[in-house]
């Protein structure tokens, strides 16, 4: 709980919270502008092009120019659209993206077990807009609300390509939420709290969850996050070659700009979530002789944004490098690989954690658990195969006719 909000809340506390909200909003908007430029410029470099270079130095004002252009374009509304939902959908996509950033700690001294409390205008507080008890669950809740924006945009457009895009989106985002949640659970196992501030504080001194959870949940989280963001290589939601523009085909003008904004906002906030969960957020080495303003604000901010930049770069790199997945490959990866892997890894981590707590040999316990999990998986696999073989042998023709073919699953 934020020390600012414990006890009586005076006018000063309310003003500080308002200030934090305004600053976070501004930084986020500017960050998105920079991110759009960064992505275009970087992808241009990776493709041996020059990229935007007209508006401002190095084309850095290109996003501003594009935004202004979009605002003044004609606002089209398809005849067969559902007017209310059509107008609502862009905001449903945008607002969750903003809200997630509210729980991300961006600064504060977290070294040597310090809990990141900073003093602003004589009041103690955290450098995050809010630190609710449910912390990271709030992130998951908002990412599940974000599905609505994409889904309703596609449906309310009243045309088929957006609808196909939105059906893909809902299936994809709901599927990958499971592995996303399971890899978060692995982190929570070691941090012992849901609060984002607590998660960062638990990683002080370089004990990043990246190492503590032995990398696997980190990788699973990145893959699932990419799918949640509908970014390449999982951008089937707006696959240009198949669906024109996907869920936002019918959108133009400012409403399209809102979707565009939401997409990049989500990329920035998801990178911030990864930094918070696995890389210790703003924590980093802080020398003893550093004055208060440096150890509380400047150094942590530098650490945070440096870590953030790694993941922003990574998402752009993905886009430049990886070809898009086919829909059935996407579903196979999510359900048949990532979810069993994250569940199994979670079980192994649990046993190791218990072993550490009660003084058993953690390596041996982990190995035994891994063996048991693998054995269970193999037994399940052989059982399924035997059953399928028997089924097939008993009545191969009806089987195929009733249950259809594998090609049907890829038809979305």
């Amino acid at each position: 709980m934020d020390p600012l909000l414990s006890g009586d809340i005076g006018l000063a506390a309310v003003l500080i919270v308002l200030l934090k909200v305004v600053v976070a909003f501004t930084v986020l908007m500017l960050g998105v502008m920079a991110m759009v430029w960064f992505e275009r410029k970087l992808i241009a470099d990776m493709q041996n092009r020059i990229g935007p270079n007209r508006a401002g130095p190095f084309g850095i004002l290109q996003t501003l120019a594009d935004g202004l252009k979009l605002m003044f374009k004609e606002d089209l509304e398809p005849e067969r659209s559902d007017p209310f939902v059509f107008k609502l959908a862009p905001f449903l996509a945008l607002i969750p993206a903003f809200l997630v950033f509210a729980v991300i700690p961006v600064a504060g001294n977290f070294s040597d077990g310090a809990d990141g409390v900073v003093t602003m205008f004589g009041h103690e507080t955290f450098m995050q807009v809010a630190d609710p008890q449910m912390g990271i669950l709030f992130v998951l809740a908002m990412s599940s609300v974000a599905v609505y924006g994409v889904m309703l945009a596609g449906w309310s457009s009243g045309s088929k390509y957006p609808l196909l895009g939105s059906v893909r989106a809902s299936a994809q985002m709901v599927s990958y939420e499971a592995s996303l949640g399971l890899s978060v659970a692995a982190v929570l196992l070691f941090s012992g709290t849901l609060s984002t501030n607590g998660i960062v504080a638990g990683q002080s001194g370089g004990q990043w969850n990246l190492w503590m959870t032995a990398l696997v949940p980190f990788v699973i989280f990145i893959v699932s996050a990419t799918a949640e963001l509908n970014r390449p290589p999982f951008d089937l939601v707006e696959a240009e070659q198949e669906l024109v523009g996907g869920f936002h085909t019918e959108y133009s003008s400012f409403r399209f700009a809102l979707f565009f904004l939401a997409e990049f906002l989500n990329t920035v906030t998801m990178s911030a979530v990864i930094v918070t969960l696995f890389l210790g957020g703003p924590s980093g080495p802080i020398p003893d002789w550093a004055p208060g303003w440096a150890s509380d604000f400047v150094l942590p901010l530098i650490y945070f944004f440096a870590k953030l930049l790694i993941f922003l770069f990574m998402f752009v790199w993905f886009r430049a490098t990886l070809p898009r997945f086919r829909y059935d490959q996407l579903m196979d990866l999510g359900w048949k690989f990532l979810i069993p892997l994250s569940l199994g890894w979670f079980l192994i981590l649990t046993s190791v954690k218990v072993a550490i707590d009660i003084g058993w040999n953690p390596v041996l316990t982990g190995a035994v658990t891994a063996a048991v999990v693998a054995l269970g998986g193999l037994m399940l696999r052989s059982a399924v195969r035997t059953a399928a073989a028997r089924h097939q042998a008993a009545d191969p023709l009806t089987d195929q006719a009733i249950l259809g073919s594998d090609a049907g699953g890829g038809g979305l």
């Binding site: 669950l137 599940s144 089987d399 006719a401 249950l403 073919s405 594998d406 090609a407």
Partner: protein, 226 residues
């Protein structure tokens, strides 16, 4: 006015408005969206009661998964046009619904009048419990000690449900039907599970040409290339 009261009034209005929307709006998608509004309002009410974990789970599970699934089905099966309500499959359900609704209304009013003024659950909890542990800690402790049996039974129940769902929807491995040779193949197989043969098929253009083909085709035409 106190902040809780203010928040309660807004959240309550959203809950009631959403509930009315679920019942009164004509379009199934609008109904589902109203349901989301109601669920959000209830989540805010949980937050007022300092049940943060419950609020988060409410949004993640109900708004984030279950209603999404509703919408998915509504959109995918093309029932998102205004539904025919003339033919009532269960004529008695309206009477039962009205009686049950009135009964619940009367009961709530009686409880509210008997229970005192504060509408925010003043009688059950006026302050956080004595220890300052977050509610998820306490919930977890209770769940894995006092109610561990119920917890495990629920887990088994859910596992059975998942296995059941997988068994029902499982497709064994095999060579896929050659779509060029049998263009009606998978469409017949799939749609026959959902579409009532007496129906005229989904009236929605989004169900593609496949559904149109499916109506004229006979299931016996389907063969396997293997």
């Amino acid at each position: 006015m106190r902040v809780e009261m203010f928040t309660f009034l807004i959240a309550g209005a959203i809950v009631l408005g959403g509930a009315l929307g679920v019942v009164l709006l004509r379009n199934p998608v609008h109904n589902a969206l109203s349901l989301v509004a109601t669920l959000f309002g209830v989540a805010v009410l949980f937050v007022i009661q300092e049940a943060y974990f419950l609020a988060a789970i409410q949004v993640i599970v109900y708004a984030g998964a279950i209603v999404i699934l509703f919408l998915f089905v509504i959109m995918f099966l093309g029932v998102d046009r205004i539904e025919a309500t003339e033919r009532d499959p269960l004529p008695a359900q309206r009477v039962v619904g009205v009686v049950a609704g009135l009964g619940i209304l009367v009961l709530s009013i009686v409880i509210l009048l008997a229970g005192g003024g504060e509408p925010t659950g003043q009688r059950s909890a006026t302050a956080p419990l004595s220890d300052q542990a977050p509610d998820i800690d306490r919930l977890g402790k209770v769940l894995f000690t006092d109610y561990v049996f119920a917890f495990e039974v629920t887990a088994v129940l859910l596992t059975v449900a998942v296995v059941g769902a997988v068994v029902l929807s499982r497709r064994p491995k095999g060579d896929p039907i050659d779509l060029d040779e049998f263009p009606d193949g998978p469409a017949v197989a799939h749609l026959s599970l959902f579409v009532d043969p007496d129906d005229e098929g989904p009236a929605d253009d989004t169900a593609d040409a496949e559904s149109a083909d499916a109506e004229s085709a006979d299931a016996d035409d389907v063969e396997v290339t293997s």
